[in-house]
């Protein structure tokens, strides 16, 4: 506590605090504008700026849920929200699941070609995913995977695995070797060691990888557009919102409400799992 009150230190940290405040403002102000606009009447939106609500912030009558009802029902965003969930949750779960097995193998099992294989997997990160569309799409249509949920789960899993494997690996490689020796003497097979020791210890790393991967898939437009097409029964939020911009570009009240619908879940995920987020950022660099 003493150091925090030390005036010299406080002065020395002013530039840091200012930078943080500026960055926070750059992010928060448009988001706030988005949120307020999404609850306002179309005529009000056209007439006055969102900041004009501030003098009478809490007086009734100027907000309504109409815009949300409009996008969710009228524009079918409710279905898209569900589609986004159907795409993101399994795709994230599958890739985290496979990545944890792969990472354990690469980190702790002895087999020929382990290093080369690991380098290959990690090296795949440098390949831009756009390069893969043309060779993969014909295969997808032959296998009738295009436009289906399993098809996009597979695609997201494949694109996500190099990074997720790498992140989980760097955590698992930091688990002390003695723990594995101890498990071997206790009589645990490699699979038992994995389930009963490695996985419980790796929960923070797995959680952060899950969050990153989930957000990436949730916000993805390109992969969904290419492998799923824009059919409303399968299109996720990102695709539907992109369509909305094309079709209803003038209707700000709908666009802002739609944008907030797509932000809602990531915000909930972020705030409820903040501590894993921070740990996850550190996962690659600092052990633990």
């Amino acid at each position: 506590m003493k150091s925090a009150l030390n005036p010299r230190r406080f002065v020395a940290k002013i530039p840091l605090h200012l930078t943080i405040l500026v960055f926070a403002a750059i992010w928060i102000i448009p988001t706030l504008g988005l949120l307020i606009t999404s609850f306002r009447d179309p005529t009000n939106i056209a007439g006055t700026g969102w900041w004009t609500v501030f003098p009478k912030l809490f007086s009734g009558g100027q907000y309504s849920l109409e815009n949300y009802i409009g996008v969710l029902r009228g524009e079918g965003l409710a279905r898209s929200f569900l589609n986004s969930l159907i795409i993101s949750v399994p795709a994230t779960a599958i890739s985290t699941f496979i990545a944890s097995f792969a990472a354990y193998g690469f980190a702790w099992m002895r087999f020929h070609g382990r290093k080369v294989l690991f380098m290959l997997v990690v090296g795949l990160m440098v390949i831009p995913l756009q390069m893969t569309f043309i060779p993969i799409l014909p295969i997808y249509s032959k296998l009738r995977l295009a436009g289906t949920f399993p098809g996009i789960w597979l695609a997201h899993t494949a694109y996500g695995l190099p990074l997720t494997t790498y992140l989980v690996h760097s955590f698992m490689a930091g688990i002390p070797k003695d723990l594995f020796d101890s498990a071997a003497i206790d009589g645990a097979s490699p699979l038992k060691t994995f389930w009963r020791i490695v996985i419980p210890i790796s929960v923070p790393a797995l959680a952060s990888v899950f969050i990153f991967q989930f957000l990436w898939i949730w916000n993805d437009l390109l992969v969904a557009l290419v492998y799923l097409s824009a059919k409303p029964n399968v299109a996720p939020l990102t695709v539907s919102i992109a369509n909305l911009v094309t079709n209803r570009g003038q209707d700000w009240e709908l666009l802002t409400a739609a944008a907030f619908v797509s932000m809602a879940l990531p915000l909930v995920v972020f705030f409820s799992l903040q501590r894993y987020f921070v740990r996850g950022i550190l996962a690659g660099s600092v052990k633990g």
Binding site: P176, D178, D181, S182, A184, I185, D186, R196
Partner: protein, 359 residues
């Protein structure tokens, strides 16, 4: 209970030979300590007994069974690691019960054995705690407890006390001694600390560069070191080594340096000594100051350290460093020259080429 027999064990990692043709018989119920500087192959030897490393050559037997091809879990051994290796997500009870659970031991029996071991180690009130809530000493007790509940034929300890602070180390050392006395289980214990080796071991194996230098009861390694390395490694402060010329005078062996001339008693005479030898004398076998005494070594004092139970005097003789452990009530002035008498019974002579003990 079982004896452990290592026959002609060699372990190579690529071009590096960690352990070279090691032969050792560890008697049933005895406490054997492998001691040596880091990199001497002691931990590798232990890990080969555990089955965590495979021996490149040779045969490992636990009891009557050759275990080279037997996985660690079926060797009926338990191991305690330097950094405890407790499972961080399990409480103390489950840490100790894990091995038993994997062996499908009936639950009531697991409970009984864990509680018995916890009682023995005084950690019963900690059974519900997670490892991170425990102090270093408590963690080490849990690690030992985990080994005990399995009731193995052989205990393996890999530097179990080196992460503890000095005071706790001494306390845990005594506890391990009592534990072994109670359980009488064959134990192999690895350490780099010669005090631990001396106090705990029924027999100790002093290792260097993958080779056992001497395998004997602790007092024997102190009284009759097999070579200069063992002589310098066992004992604290370490044995002094002075270059000397060996000659014979009237049938008696004489060791000569610039600042001393030591005539050995007739019963220790040895005629076939090489001309150049190394004289080894322990600090506690020096006495003085004894001005003008016969068979004395003259030393120039550079530093003195009062320890209460002894006075350590550091100085030089013939450009070599010398330490003497003297009666603490003597007074010795820094920069003075003093004569120190040598205990002729316990003086050692080594070959400077082979380092073997000559006398």
């Amino acid at each position: 209970m079982a004896e452990v027999t290592l026959t002609n064990i060699t372990k190579r990692f690529g071009d590096f030979t960690a352990v070279q043709s090691l032969d050792m018989e560890i008697e049933d119920g005895k406490f054997t300590v492998l001691v040596g500087p880091s990199g001497c192959g002691k931990t590798t030897t232990l890990r080969m007994v555990a089955g965590l490393e495979e021996a490149t050559e040779g045969e490992i037997k636990i009891g009557d069974r050759v275990v080279n091809r037997v996985p660690p879990k079926d060797r009926d051994i338990a191991m305690v690691f330097q950094n405890y290796a407790l499972y961080p997500h399990m409480d103390v009870f489950n840490n100790m019960a894990f091995g038993l659970k994997l062996r499908k031991t009936p639950k009531p029996q697991i409970k009984e054995r864990v509680h018995e071991a916890a009682d023995l180690l005084g950690i019963t009130d900690k059974l519900k705690s997670k490892p991170r809530e425990l102090s270093g000493g408590q963690r080490q007790r849990v690690a030992v407890g985990r080994a005990i509940v399995r009731n193995p034929k052989v205990f393996l300890f890999d530097e179990p006390l080196s992460n503890l602070d000095a005071k706790l180390r001494v306390q845990m050392r005594t506890e391990l001694e009592q534990l072994h006395h109670k359980l009488q289980t064959t134990t192999i214990y690895v350490t780099h600390d010669q005090v631990e080796a001396m106090t705990l071991g029924d027999r100790i194996a002093v290792m260097k560069d993958g080779v056992v230098q001497q395998y004997a009861p602790p007092q024997r390694t102190y009284d009759h070191p097999a070579n200069q390395f063992v002589a310098g490694f066992i004992g604290s402060p370490a044995m002094n080594f002075l270059p000397a010329k060996a000659t014979t005078d009237n049938g008696r062996t004489v060791l000569v340096g610039t600042d001393y001339r030591i005539v050995l008693p007739p019963e220790r005479a040895k005629s076939d000594l090489p001309a150049n030898v190394v004289l080894g004398v322990r600090p506690e076998d020096l006495d003085g100051p004894a001005p003008g005494a016969e068979n004395a070594i003259r030393m120039t004092v550079s530093v003195t350290e009062q320890l209460g139970h002894s006075l350590l005097v550091y100085g030089t003789v013939d450009d070599a460093q010398l330490v003497a452990s003297l009666d603490p009530h003597r007074s010795v002035a820094v920069d003075s020259s003093i004569d120190l008498t040598v205990n002729l019974e316990t003086l050692h002579v080594f070959d400077p080429e082979t380092q073997e003990t000559l006398l």
